[in-house]
Symmetry: C2
Subunit: 153 residues, 2 copies
Amino acid sequence: MAVEENTSLITLRVRGKRVSGVQTSVQVRNLSPVLIDEPRQMGGEDAGPNPMEYVLAAFSGCLTVMITQVTHEMGFQLGDLQTTITGTLDPRGMMGTPGVRREFQQVIADVQLQTEEPKERVQQLREQVEARCPVHNLLKDAGVVLSGEWSRL
Amino acid sequence: MAVEENTSLITLRVRGKRVSGVQTSVQVRNLSPVLIDEPRQMGGEDAGPNPMEYVLAAFSGCLTVMITQVTHEMGFQLGDLQTTITGTLDPRGMMGTPGVRREFQQVIADVQLQTEEPKERVQQLREQVEARCPVHNLLKDAGVVLSGEWSRL
């Protein structure tokens, strides 16, 4: 497999334990545990975001990393950065209904940038970020409908 | 769009703010903020897991939710539950190298169950969970190579 011939790969590993009910405590390196749960109406105790909320949070974090990286490369002046990520899910997928997507149907990623840079440079930044961001491409390659507005703060 | 004709959809929304460097604080409902960062060698301050570690954590949490749900449906006796999720990434993808996957190349999900149930029932549980788990299907539909062992604790 090509993967194993490539020595530049990064390996990430996390370890989860069910704490109670549908709640998981996940250990990542030596950081504080990540607590994942479901709201009470989904049978949880609401001790933390649910798994798909964490996927959206990861997308928000990934946009920050990639926007910071690409603005550095471009010499793009950037102040504050905010993201709002909205995903829609059909719960029948999780219940096993055939023909219904299990993962998100669509995800909207709205990005707000504090910048005086011209519109064309903002567009150039967006294209680079969307081409390279791992979470954006994970959703895109899975066939999730992606959209969003990039605007000024 | 089919999505909008369906009234049973669940909408999830998260809001992220860049705190400093590549660090994001993500607000999910009224829960404690999710802190996302990168290790120092990636330009961060290591204040929390990185975005792709959160995707793996979400997979761990999703397996707990789905295994709990399906064991209830099956009347499957289950004690402790642990998951180890390992993903490999090629960092050249994030740097924009053409032809290199941006998201995971492969993900290994190892599941350990404390149970006396027979092998066939464990296999039946696994098939149901993999067919229905949103994060499993997100990775699968994106073309990530998925594997893993289900064993007893």
